[in-house]
Each structure stands twice: as C-alpha cells, then as structure tokens.
C-alpha cells in the first residue's frame, strides 16, 4: 500500500543534511510552503543552497531561513520584494552569495533538472552581464547562452489538495513554481491545505501526479500565511 502522508511537519522535513540544495516554491508568499520552510529551519540544518524566485519577505518562511544565517547561497530571479530586510542584511554583510537568474531561465533550468536534460541554449540574457562566463553559441544567426540544469536534494512545495499517493491540485496563481519544482528533487515534500480520499481527484484534474511526490503533510489553510 502506498501512503505518503506524514502526521507532522517535523517528520515531513526529517533527514535533510547540511549543505543541501533546496528548491522552495512560491511567487512572493503566494504558493510558498511557509510552514514546511519553518519546520526545515527548526531542524537546525545549515549551509543551504536555496533555489527560489524571491529571497523572502518579512520574517517568516525563506526570510527566516536567511535571517538565521542558514543559507550560504541563493539562486533566484528577484530578491527585491516588498520587505526583503533579511535578504538585504545578509547580502550587504557579504554573508549570502547571490546568483541572479532570469525568471524563465530559472524555471527552465529546474524543469531540465526534473526532465533529465543536462543543459539548454536560450537567447535570454545574451549580450548582457548575466551571460558573462557562460558559453555562447549561434543558432539561426542569433547568440544563445548555455544554461545548466538545476536539481535539488529537497523540494518543498505547497498545494491545495492531495491524496495518500501524493496526487496534488493547486489553486489559482499559487500553482506557479510548485509543479516544476516537484519534479526536480530527490526528496519532494508537499504541504496541502487538505487531504482528500484517493480517487476523489478527477484524473484529468491532477496537476502533479504522485510519482513526483515523496511526502505529504496537511497544513489547514486557517493556520497558513
């Protein structure tokens, strides 16, 4: 019998090692698995490489992880959010390495990691300082930049509903990076607003099938940011 459900956030994030590469889904705080990130923080794990679109806002979730000095490097597209004070402080103090990646390139690098593609060429960033040091090749008379895949040791994602096999659905723009990150890690952990019975999600409406998900924990929405 397959049952990927775990009963606590602590169990959901157990076994993560120092130095891990962690994919954190969400766009700003929408679709961000805040409670899972806080639980990861509480394990005491450090020296993390975080892959996320942003760099945390306020003091919760990713911001807390950065504020506590647990993140060695962040790979993201847009660290400038409404209240990025944890990022700003760590970045200006030279305690946090930043790799800035165009948002679509970030998403495609993660997809490639999940899809068994080592690298790809894209026109995006050609001729800009973001392409410095990267291989450039001409296709159809235009310069393209070689971008390498990203995989995570861990992906933390957030969905609306999930069943015991790990089949997931998302709600509105909270979908964002969740499906692509779910595919690209050795251990994918999902927090869901509610568990549902196996078979109750219409097969045509499964957004992320359970093959990509290893653990699933319920975090009712009322307790959520």
């Amino acid at each position: 019998m397959i049952d990927k459900r775990v009963s606590s956030l602590a169990e959901a994030v157990s076994g993560v090692k120092d130095g891990a590469t962690v994919l954190l889904a969400g766009f700003g705080s929408v679709g961000e698995p805040v409670e899972l990130i806080e639980a990861l923080h509480d394990t005491g794990v450090r020296d993390l490489v975080v892959v996320a679109n942003n760099a945390g806002l306020g003091d919760t979730g990713l911001a807390r992880l950065i504020g506590s000095g647990r993140v060695r490097k962040i790979i993201c597209s847009f660290p400038r959010t409404a209240d990025p004070h944890c990022f700003d402080a760590a970045y200006r103090a030279g305690k946090l390495e930043l790799e800035l990646v165009p948002q679509g390139t970030l998403s495609e690098r993660i997809r490639a990691g999940g899809a068994g593609i080592a690298a790809f060429y894209t026109r995006v960033s050609a001729g800009t300082e973001v392409a410095n040091g990267k291989e450039v090749r001409q296709f159809a008379g235009q310069p393209h930049v070689l971008e390498e895949a990203i995989r995570g040791d861990l992906a933390l994602i957030r969905a609306e509903t999930g069943d015991r096999w790990g089949n997931l659905t998302y709600r509105l723009s909270a979908r964002n990076f969740n499906p692509v990150m779910a595919m690209a890690a050795d251990l994918t952990v999902a927090q869901v607003s509610q568990f549902v019975e196996l078979g109750s999600i219409d097969p045509d409406h499964v957004h992320t099938p359970g093959i990509f998900v290893d653990r699933i924990v319920a975090v009712p929405r009322s307790h959520s940011a």
Binding site: V30, Y91, L172
Partner: protein
Amino acid sequence: MISLTRRQIAWRAAQDLPDGAYVNLGIGLPTLVSNFVPADREVVFHAENGVLGQGPAPAPGEEDPDLINAGRGFITLVRGGAIVHHNDAFVIIRGGHLDCTLLGAFQVSALGDLANWATDDPTFPPGLGGAMDLAVGAKEVRVLLEHTTKDGRPRLVERCTYPLTAARCVKRIYTNLAVLDVTDGGFMAREMVPGLSREALQAKTGAPIAFAADCGLLKAPALD
C-alpha cells in the same frame, strides 16, 4: 506644458492595443494598463506568474489570497481566464506567443536597448524577474516610463549606462511628455503633450530626436 500622470501614460498605452491581442504587463507602471482598454476590445493580459486573462483589481475585501499578478498585487480573472504553471508561463513568453509586452524601464537607448533591472546605486538590490525573458520573447516590446529621473536627468539616452536587460528590443515608448518610436535612425517623436516645444523635449532627452511628419498632440482624459 501639461505632463501626463502615471494613469494617463497607462491610458495612452492601452489605446494602442488591438482587439484580440495577448499582452504581458510588467511590474510598476504597466500594471495600470489593464484598467484602460477601450470597452469594445478584448485584450488578454498575461502575467509571468501564470495568469492569462488578468482582470481589474478586486474591490476592497474581495481579494483572493491566491490570485496576484507579477507585481504581487491582487487581481481578478476575466471570464475565459486560465492558470498555467511557471514553466508554461515562460513558454508563452519565450516561445513568441505574446503579441506585445509592456515594461517599465530605468533607461532606453536610441538603439532600443533596454535597462530595467539594476542601477549604479549599490544600496539598491538588483532584480531580474522575467524582464530578460520578455524582452527577447515577446513579438513587440513597448516601454512606459517617466521622461526624466526625479532629478531631471534623461531616461532616453544615447547609450544605457545601467546594465542591459536586452539589446535593440524596444519599439515604442510612452512617457509623461511624448510617444516615441525607436527607428533605425534613433528616437522619433509621434506625439507630444500640448505646450511643449520640440526644443524643450529635445533638452529633456539624451539623444537626438527626429519628429514624425504627422507628429501630433499627446492627450489623455482626466483620470484621477
């Protein structure tokens, strides 16, 4: 001389969007554009976080916490709207499926180079977002910006001094003073606000401006 407000710049850009267009709205000034599309046109607005069919801002108290745009403002979905995941949102962008993107900018050069992700201020953290993807992926790039910086320096320049988002990508520019095209010969003014002389517009611009033979008046209704 009557300078346009931010909402009036957005209004003017909206008037150029044809019926049936798929249009991405960048963060900042462009997000206002969806409020001003003429009622007889259907324009589908795309947001990089996976929204197709972005509608106007919700009434206070009607916000859905899971429904935001690229600038993280709360939005509504229009009838016929759709949600995609991030990878497909950028398939739409990079794959050439957007008729147009409307972006904000720090600087635009006479060659159409765009700079909108970093400045020379070391205290200002850089932020790429989806701008580089949009600048090379959309069929047309239009920019909305104030004609000069707060301290009066031109934002339309001979060469960008800030890091580039993409080279030679901008086709049309809407400012508080003028509508300009980027042509093979550089900036060409199409419309200017009433009471502004050609010499005065040139003085606020960092590269030579040509004036279209039919250069007209830039007017927008009172919106505030």
